[in-house]
Amino acid sequence: MLLVLAILSASTAIAMAGTMFRLEIGLPIAAGTDTKVKSVKNAVLVVRPVVCEDMASVQITGTAEGMVNGARQSVTVKLIHVTPDVYAVQRQWPEGHWVLHLAGTCSSPKASASTIVPLAGTGFIRDKTQVLREPATRAQIEASLKDLVRSQS
């Protein structure tokens, strides 16, 4: 019985996942080809909120969390509007190992979401990107950075 409940619960969570507020990450080309898309040179990625009834209320902030020559660094990231619902992130941190932490809030329904994106070269590592339906914890960010440093060393 417990097993059935667990399976049902997991299935429901998976089904719900696509209908909950979250931040979606894409290559810069995901911003599209429309004439209204603002061109942003050297963007690392673009991000958009999904499943929020009041898109105008969405707030997204970001920090780049990194290791540079063995020292821990944190850089507040500036996001650039490329369309009303899509933001671009340009590289704005020095050479080193970096993960990008983006956090967003939606007012209706009231929800928070975040994403932790390991960066590599001029882009990001999609397979290791974590899309979270809640604010990321400090431990999650540090673990992602540690994993990145290990894989790039």
Binding site: E24, G26, L27, P28, I29, A30, T33, S39, K41
Partner: protein, 348 residues
């Protein structure tokens, strides 16, 4: 000391003789000011292409009536209460006078293309060329074409490019053979390159396009998007992807450069060797999430009987949102296909 502040007056032919001598002496030794002068002349060339519209007869009637009418009460201030028609006529007159001034003062606007050539034997040289002129490089020569203020086109050795029209909404060149590299920062569709079997339309990007003597070639995009168009067939190519160009066929189906060799070979067979369903089966089998770029194009290129399995493979790989109608996608509804592509792009 630079002469930026005097260049507009100089280009307008309004500078005094002594000032002209001083500016021209400075220009001979200052690359920066020469570039500014060229920019001003280029902009003037664009202004010159604005049509001078003749005012409708009704406007002149209104002006006549205004002149003949008895002066109104003295409480009405003069100057800022011109009838709209009269103000309109003044604007027309000013535009016409400005266009005429540029026409006579700037003979070089008949040569709107700025081209720099680098020959190892003689070093760099720059000049202006007219619409219709050819830029041709040999085995050791390179050239750079300045596309107004929106970008540059680097012309590789052994390349032949014809400079086309420039207008307010289009810069057009033609690549007869060889290789060019374009970097454009402008709204989509402003810069266009004709090749013998496709037209490359810039959608805000950087790309390389090459064509051989038979008209065979490739488009490789390194930033943003570009479109290949030919007789109603269109390939949309994003950064990191390429699409072939073949004479008699036009643009092939784009694929990402990291797609499997099997997928690329089957795609070439599908596009150019009547590969049909068999080749399509291989493409579908080899496709990853990222290859939905290729599958999206195949939706409208595969036989009607194959369309469902193409869509279902896309759905299996990338789970499009439920708001995108499968039925409409299979009917090739344009709006639905556009939405589908935009959603798929977030998975690439």
């Amino acid at each position: 000391m630079h002469v930026s502040g005097q260049l507009a007056r100089y280009c307008d032919g309004q500078a005094a003789p002594e000032e002209v001598r001083r500016i021209e002496a400075h220009l001979t030794s200052c690359e920066r000011c020469r570039r500014e002068r060229d920019d001003i002349r280029f902009a003037a060339g664009l202004v010159r292409q604005l049509a001078v519209v003749t005012a409708p007869v009704s406007v002149w009637h209104a002006i006549d009536a205004q002149i003949d009418a008895p002066r109104r009460g003295s409480e009405q201030p003069r100057g800022w209460t011109l009838a709209p028609a009269l103000a309109f006529a003044w604007v027309l007159a000013i535009v016409a006078a400005g266009a005429a001034a540029y026409w006579f003062a700037n003979p070089t606007v008949d040569q709107p293309w700025q081209v720099a050539t680098l020959k190892p034997a003689t070093g760099p040289s720059t000049g202006r060329l007219a619409e219709g002129a050819w830029v041709e490089t040999d085995t050791t020569t390179r050239a750079r074409i300045t596309v107004g203020s929106i970008g540059i086109v680097d012309v590789e050795p052994e390349t032949r490019v014809r400079l086309g029209t420039i207008s307010a909404n289009e810069y057009r060149i033609a690549l007869a053979r060889g290789t060019i590299r374009a970097q454009i920062a402008a709204p989509p569709r402003l810069f266009v390159v004709d090749t013998p079997a496709s037209t490359v339309v810039d959608l805000g990007c950087a790309y390389t396009v090459n064509v051989d003597a038979d008209g065979r070639g490739d488009l490789h995009v390194t930033e943003g998007w570009a479109a290949l168009e030919w007789k109603g067939r269109e390939s949309l190519v994003p950064a990191g992807a390429s699409a072939p160009i073949r004479p008699g066929v036009g643009p092939g189906t784009p694929s990402f450069d990291d797609a499997s060799a099997g997928l690329r070979a089957a795609l070439a067979t599908f596009d150019f060797a009547d590969g049909g369903s068999n080749a399509l089966t291989t493409v579908l089998g080899e496709a990853r999430v990222r290859d939905t770029l290729t599958l999206w194009h195949l939706l409208s290129r595969a036989a009607t009987s194959d369309r469902e399995r193409v869509y279902d493979r896309i759905a299996g790989l990338a789970s499009p949102p439920e708001s995108i109608s499968r039925a409409k996608a299979l009917q090739l509804d344009r709006e639905t296909l556009t939405r589908l592509r935009e959603e798929l792009a977030w998975k690439w």
